[in-house]
Amino acid sequence: MRPKRRAAPALLAAVLLAFAGGAPAAWGPAGGPLRAYLPDARAVPGWAPDGGPQEFEGEDLFAYIDGGAEIYEEYGFRRVAVQDYKDGGGKSLSLEVFEMETPAAAFGMFTFKRSGRGRSLALGGGGEIESYYLNFWKGRFLVTLTGFDETPGTRAGLEAVAAAVETRIGDGGEAPRLAGLLPGRGLRTESVKYVRGRLGLANAYDLHAARGLDFAEAVKGDYEDGTALIVLAYASPQALASAWAELRGEIARGGWFERTDAEAVYRDGRGRFAAFAPGPEVLAVALGADAAAARRRAESAAAGTR
């Protein structure tokens, strides 16, 4: 069953947000209609709204994204506005403005959805345009634009509409601190995935474990030398110790990981070495073709976050 989430009336939501202090006015109409962020007919030369906007809130997201809403819920979803646009030549694109619960949630969904193989864009907190779609995040908003072909005209339209949305959102927000804890040397920054739960982690790297993964947040990055590093942060040292004991038990049972001669270094089902290094508050997992290099990276990361 999906997480229970009741759609709060707009007024109540606004009051709660005010008490929580989580929605600066500069981010736009908290509790107000998301359609305020949608460019109108005069905002983007050559592109005009096609039909009316749609909005989905809370669990209604499952009606809009049938079979794919869980990841948004895992990061923390509030609502989404959807609007189609058309140009004079009949090309069309779809704009989705997702309001997430926090800037960290928006940043996380952005890192989940980008491939890291597109062209980076200086939009909001970060953006990327790929062959036919564009994602950027700003504040607690994730913006996705999808074209229906890969022509230069469509791609130009994606960028133009995205720029118009970006100006409407106003001030941004910070990426989560954990994302900055990955050692920067050799890091392919476009590969970074920020994760808030098991579904995100399973898509970044599947540990094939049912227990030991009650982490608070995690981040994964790929490095130029072919290794990858995952840092899992837990709520407390006690939570980490308990989780690590469980996770280690799961790994030892086999199935996906095989033991190696080295302590806390295993070989995964794809033949890569996975080195685990618990620190006081984070668990570092490094992946690579070389066991010793993976172990060094994991231990260094666990120590560096103290």
């Binding site: 869980e70 491939s115 739960g197």
Partner: protein, 308 residues
Amino acid sequence: MRREIGRREFFRTSAGAGLTLAWGRFLAVPAEAAAKAPVVGVGIGAEGEAALKAVRLLGGMRRFVPKGAKVALLPNVQSRHPGTFTHPEVLRAVVRMCKKAGAGEINALSWQTAKQWEDTGLKAVLDAEGAGLRIFERDESLFTPLAVPGGVALKEARPLAALAGHDVLINMPITKDHAGNKFTGALKNLMGLNSPASNRTFHRPDWQTDPEAIAHLDQSIVDLNKAVRPALNIVDATEFIVSNGPFGPGQLFRPRKVVAGTDRVAVDAYCASLWGLEPKDIVQIRKGAEQGLGRMDLDKVVIREEDA
């Protein structure tokens, strides 16, 4: 609650014999995997031509659609993003092949919205080719409770009742990425025929993406396939997303293939291999093979591949 139980009992007891007759042609044959090596036809090229070729490699549509038969089609209309729904030209080719085989009536069955059918361009193809589109409300009375033979996680499937009024079911998914269980194809597409309320039970309460929850989901998919067996599976693998599935937008992969076969496990195993997935790592494929729905070992499958 009492009334619902009574209705179910009615289906299972007093009308049980008639139900079996009506649904018999859609029930899975448990020994499917024990038969001789399954054949998978792979057409390569533009969408329509590839579909035509794939079915020809199996011996042609007449092998699956008897003259005068009422044919139910199940394309995927989950999203309108590129590479997430069955390509309209694949649908057009299948409708034309069914007509040429002498089908008496062809209908796409769905509980998805009319807008989804319009946005994907699939409705326009059905209209143009003279095939029907029957969209049903998400009303449980429009779905038929069917006991799942050998059901492990799912004891009762609830396919659209309208299916029983047809002679042949052609399953027409697109293969693509799925964030939850990594892969979607022929086996999973039958959820598009099963009631949304029943589909929700495939997800455990307070869903967490861990191996046990995925095992439950994929076991439910396998069980659903024990209750409903398409006569033919025609999978669009011409262009599909390999990330951000099943909704997209995501990275597109373009093998330009359409994959057809009666063995859903073999068809899915082949499709998974297209983008480097190991069939044994996809729980629904592995369980489907273990529980007799088909073969996942591609060395024991006859793969006929030909350029369109």
